[in-house]
Amino acid sequence: MDQLLINSGFPILSVLIFLPLAGALLLVFVKSEQLCRYLTLVVTSFVALLSLRLITGFDITTAKFQFVEQHSWIDAFNINYIIGVDGISILLILLTTLIMPLCVLASWSYIKTRVQTFMACLLIMETAMIGVFVALDLVLFYVLWEAMLIPMYLLIGIWGGPRKIYASIKFFLYTLAGSILLLVGIIWLYVTNNYSFFIPDMMWQNYPVTSQIYLFLAFFLAFAIKVPMFPFHTWLPAAHVEAPTAGSVILASILLKMGTYGFLRFALPITPEATIILMPYVLWLSIAGIIYGGFTALAQSDMKKLIAYSSVGHMGFVTLGIFVLNIKGIEGAILQMVNHGITTGALFLCVGMIYERTHSRELRSATGVGKYMPIYITFLAFFSLSSFGFPGTNSFVGEFMIIAGAFEFDTVLNRFPYLALASIPGAVLAAAYMLRMLQKIIWGGTNNPDQSWITDINSREIAVLAPFLFFVLWIGLGPQPFIDLMHASVSQLLQQFDDHKAQSIAAAGSLFQ
């Protein structure tokens, strides 16, 4: 228990978790649709404001878990309610809490039917998502991880596009099937670890290498599907395309991060030897994802699909950063998780705004709106530049750090920088598909459809996009405070990793030659 800093004061994390749930219950009694919207906005905004207290109270010098709360839950099986925050999770929690009110605002006029249910789903999602990032008990983690599927399924299945049924069922089945073996892995850990589900207790144990490999594969399947990594990504375009705007934003900004968060929180510390042995494969899968995502995005005519495939590429960068296993790579990966959340979330909102006007996601029906929507395309331009990592925007910092990490990885192995070079085409492709989209939307060509009737975004929509732009520029120009938040935890993770590394570096080396 020495990894914990017990929080004896205000139980801020529990409040963050349960407040949205309470809000969802309250919605049951609200009859008016407008009141539902306002209530949800108030609850999510309050949670967002409250979560800022995490920053002011966060001690960046320690890698311990902070704001920890501990209660017993199921005594007979030693299952506890333990939650806490460290440098790896704090940014993701803030990302979640800050994006939710914007999702509510973005759905203000888009969702017209069954508003009450929609808002309740959003609030339940928020509870589950925050819970997944703070859970320090494996059962608690798993419960919330799975419970999230239901509201997300409903978000896609009820308010989705024409192929919503296919997309929602595919999403549910894929994710559930992936995490089933995770459950078996959890049970294995429990029995091996003297009947404990406490996550920090499971880290850095010397499990037999074969068991570690099985365990890593169980983790990998669950998390790689969620990320999604290259061969497991097929649910993502379907789900993204059919989901309503808020659903797409939540999926892209937060749900995908859970996979990469899982790698950092579980795979690395619990199965270090297996990580080193299997790392090469994961790295090359990441490269495959980066390039595959880029090329596929280039060929899309549906804007949402384009951004969905670009997500596959961007998340490939994140997994690349995680598995190069050095400080630059992992810090870059965490920062890139946040960046992707901001940028891609904003891009989905932008597409949603066009969709609300033209009722089409086709790129060709949105061509040439630049003349009539100057404010809109200003935002869009910034987010597109950010998406392909233009210097001065947030993604540049993240991708730069990741590629630097990849170079360092190659240098340590004392070889030509294959890995880093292999990821470069991804960055170029990103520029190609984003600029292509941007060009078409702003100027288009000689046969643009008549767009003169289109109205520019209103003040509510500006209020939705402005915070995203603020963070794009803040992280792009001054990322240090964000990196400071995670530094202690990441360096401790790598420190402890090095202790385990010596044993199996030979094995990894032989695989690489």
Binding site: I74, D75, I158, V184
Partner: protein, 470 residues
């Protein structure tokens, strides 16, 4: 006082016997049935702490049996509350229907207290025969006489299973010279090397496998579920299974750890049950049939707890069956309410339910997701704890395959949810559910969630109960 719940049921049965002599109206019979079953729940609750032995130690009243009696009574009460007016049963035999229903409940309550082979046999037959008669009492207008086919199938399979069980019991008596379970347990420990002992135990288990609808004794399930009236199916799907699990726990305690053969047989039965149930459910169109196959799969899951041969496993199995009864009843509540004039409900009939009856749609969704084992509902915590116990005992392959089964199962549960929530009503009329069933819906949802979120209280309860048997 010890025999009070059973005596009350006997009295209730008599009331309906006298009612059946006249020609009472539906509403009157219904009113009697609900009130009296509420009384039975109350009585079982009062007697929950009583302990003792009756009838020359053939009949044991302990916390284990009393807890089961309470849940049997409660499940019956729930079924009676939501089976509105019982339109799907012939008007003429309304009173008789309840007479048999309460006799069946009486048999089941006696069953959970029986600790002697003959007593077990007699109470099992009492409950079974009453249910055999209830099945064909359905109004034949509703489905062209299929209820008779269902009734005959149910009867024939039941009689066959009982035959096997009797044969096994005779072996047990031959090996040990006693019909008392506790005496048998002691003496059997010495003779486990003999194949006869294994055969005897397995044959006795067959009788309860039949009640629980476990592979390979599941053949009656689809036809009986489909052929019987919706309310009867709800009863069959919930109440006898409780008693079956109670008796399985009693019989399984006879096995000691050396009897690896039996454990292996149970593992195989459990896996086949899950795979068979889940794979067959994938293609069903009729809601009751689908739930029947899902019930077969769940029976396999319950066996996962029993085959650990330790008290935690039994306690979780007990927790799971109680949870299962509530989830199942939540689904049947919706089926009975949605059904028009007692007809069978196809999955399509749930189209647009979210608009036609929002509360029912939510109840159905909660019930189905709970059955599928999605947190935070009771189905998840039950499955999780069962798998945990089995893993501890080293059944790794079983755990992995059982987990995979959850993934298969989600598809068919989800396809109902999809119809319920993601389709428009297409001019189907709204469904008016009575105030009683609305309250019951909310209550069931709350129970399913509470049991799932804070299982520790319930596990404590079932652990204490199981300790009474060990």
């Amino acid at each position: 006082m010890l025999f009070l719940p059973e005596l009350t049921l006997l009295g209730v049965g008599l009331v309906f016997f006298f009612l059946s002599l006249g020609e009472p109206s539906r509403a009157k019979v219904k009113y009697f049935a609900v009130t009296l079953s509420a009384l039975v729940v109350l009585v079982t609750l009062i007697c929950i702490k009583s302990e003792g032995e009756l009838f020359y130690q053939a009949y044991r009243i302990d916390f284990f049996s009393q807890l089961f009696k309470f849940f049997i009574a409660l499940a019956t009460f729930i079924v009676l509350v939501f089976s509105d007016q019982l339109v799907s049963v012939k008007e003429k035999v309304q009173a008789e229907y309840y007479l048999f229903l309460f006799t069946a409940v009486l048999g089941l309550m006696m069953l959970v207290s029986s600790v002697e082979l003959l007593a077990i046999f007699v109470s099992l037959e009492l409950s079974s025969f009453a249910v055999y008669i209830m099945v064909p009492m359905r109004n034949s207008v509703n489905n062209g006489g299929r209820q008779v086919e269902a009734g005959v199938k149910y009867l024939l399979f039941g009689v066959m299973a009982t035959g096997f069980m009797l044969f096994g019991m005779s072996y047990l008596f031959g090996l040990t010279g006693s019909t008392q379970l506790f005496v048998i347990a002691d003496k059997l420990n010495l003779t486990y090397a003999q194949p006869a002992a294994v055969v005897a135990i397995v044959l006795v288990l067959v009788g309860f496998f039949y009640k629980l609808a476990l592979f390979p004794l599941h053949f009656w399930v689809p036809d009986v579920y489909e052929g019987a009236a919706n309310e009867t199916t709800a009863f069959i799907a919930a109440v006898p299974k409780l008693a079956a699990v109670a008796l399985l726990i009693r019989v399984v305690t006879l096995i000691n750890a050396e009897a690896e053969v039996i454990v292996n047989i149970l593992v195989v039965c459990s896996l086949l049950s899950m795979f068979y149930g889940n794979l067959s459910a994938l293609v069903q169109k009729d809601a009751k049939r689908l739930l029947g196959f899902s019930g077969i799969a769940h029976a396999g899951f319950i066996l996962v707890g029993l085959l650990t041969l330790e008290s935690t496993g039994y306690a979780t199995a007990m927790y799971y069956i109680i949870g299962y009864v509530f989830m199942n009843l939540a689904c049947f509540l919706v089926i009975c309410t949605v059904s028009e004039k007692g007809r069978n409900v196809a999955i399509e009939d749930f189209t647009g339910l979210h608009k036609r009856a929002p509360l029912l749609a939510i109840t159905l969704t909660v019930g189905l997701f709970a059955l599928a084992g999605i947190p935070p509902f009771v189905g998840f915590s039950g499955k999780f704890l069962l798998l945990l116990g089995a893993f501890k005992q080293g059944h790794v392959l079983l755990v992995v395959l059982a987990a995979l089964n959850t993934a298969i199962a989600i598809y068919y549960y989800l396809s109902i949810v999809r119809v319920t929530f993601c389709t428009d009503s297409e001019n189907r009329g709204t469904i008016v559910s009575s105030r009683k069933s609305n309250i019951l819906s909310i209550l069931l949802i709350v129970i399913i969630i509470v049991m799932g979120v804070i299982p520790s209280k319930f596990i404590e309860l079932t652990t204490t109960a199981v300790q009474a048997v060990m």
